[in-house]
Symmetry: C2
Subunit: 258 residues, 2 copies
């Protein structure tokens, strides 16, 4: 079983390409909805939550873990790896595979936790040593998406505010460094026209696919590819809001407390 | 010692009038910053957090508790009262004392948890039986305030969106049913001109003052009125953001984990 760990809803946009590439795999998704959002919390608090959540998923029998939240990866990937021995895919580590090594000007959009940790920035410096990087924290994007304002004029006003410093640049790429941001892709694309948007979820799913093949962890084709969702707060709210992120109905939602 | 319990920062706008009315009282403030915001979480999760937090403050020696968060009051006041025997002031219970009993059209603005619980609505129906009540959930107001956008054009756009249904009404009063909203008072007043804004913190502080006198719990005038702040996440962030809410520097910030 594949475990997907997220602070709440955003990881569902990472689960989508995973389901497409690996339709027979059984998935356990954990959304820590009682403690979301992670993006404005401290690395220490986020790391503690991730260790607890990984422990929960291991008890349920996962063989491989995807940390699908950029804030969680930024704060906790090394700590979780040090404590647990299963293979772990962090979305940030594999998120840049679609980024051209020739890119000269690259923006990273993320939560404050992700931008402050500068984990993406370091990886881009290794991949594209000559690039100029513009990291921008966009804390209101997550609540905007969770309020369903993805294509609303308010989202445009907020995007203009955050992305204003980028408007005069000739950007080669914008990394959507938070799993909520792909839902704002239209709004971001209208604000920064003619710039490639990179959704790290796609290459993260490909990395998982390669890992399962390499370690011979694939399910047989007869497997149904069932999905179970655990949440630390109300399963009903997760069902209702989650389908906007996953773009399909969500069933099998259980409480982590039951 | 007076305990003030809040999900994070908003309760500091309740602490302000308490400090003005009761400058000699010692205050222990608990902001549950590792699990904020409460406003979009389930009543069950909020109630569990409030019981844990009340227990923490009791261990520190408080003699009276103010639940300074409307979402917490809505979800947990009865549950906390049933489990602990100290006197408890809930901001919602005392928040309406400035509301004229003759008011005919009253709006309540709050988080989704507060609006769904309809606790204010029930109290207004008792106080003003003939009034028409317009409850409006404004989920983006809290992140806007925490981003420092109180008087920013984005706040005006968001206020116009939420308050649009009220613009044609002849309102007698608008209840600011979330402790973050007083920081948006200018923006709300520009959107709903000539309408009285009611900040429940003021009558909550007066109710606490009466309670301490009635139960003979006042400090002597020689007491220094010291304040200690406990937070479940990073003390530094609380110090920095908290002073915007309290409107004075914040010292003595400790972690609940230390």
């Amino acid at each position: 079983m594949i475990g997907i760990l997220d602070s709440g809803f955003g990881g569902l946009t990472v689960m989508r390409p995973i389901r497409t590439l690996l339709p027979c795999e059984e998935i356990l998704y954990l959304g820590d909805t009682a403690r979301l959002p992670y993006g404005e919390k401290s690395p220490k608090a986020i790391a503690q939550y991730c260790v607890e959540n990984t422990s929960f998923l291991l008890d349920k029998g996962i063989r491989v873990l995807v940390i699908a939240c950029h804030s969680a990866c930024s704060a906790a990937l090394d700590i979780v790896r040090a404590q647990f021995s299963i293979p772990i895919i962090g979305i940030i580590e594999h998120g840049l595979e679609a980024l051209s090594q020739d890119a000269q000007q690259i923006a990273i959009l993320g939560t404050r936790a992700t931008i402050n940790a500068a984990f993406y920035e370091k990886r881009i410096r290794t991949r594209c040593p000559k690039a100029t990087i513009f990291p921008i924290a966009c804390p209101l994007f997550v609540p905007l998406v969770e309020e369903g304002y993805c294509d609303h004029p308010i989202a445009t006003v907020v995007a203009n505010e955050y992305l204003h410093p980028l408007k005069e640049k000739t950007l080669d790429a914008v990394v959507l460094g938070c799993t909520h941001y792909p839902l704002l892709a239209n709004t971001i694309a209208r604000t920064l026209t003619k710039t490639a948007l990179i959704d790290p979820a796609l290459s993260c799913a490909e990395a998982l696919h390669r890992l399962l093949n390499a370690k011979d962890l694939r399910q047989t084709k007869q497997s149904t590819g069932s999905c179970t969702f655990y949440v630390s707060d109300d399963p009903n709210k997760f069902r209702a809001l989650g389908k906007i992120f996953l773009q399909e109905p969500i069933e099998n939602v259980l409480s982590t407390h039951s």
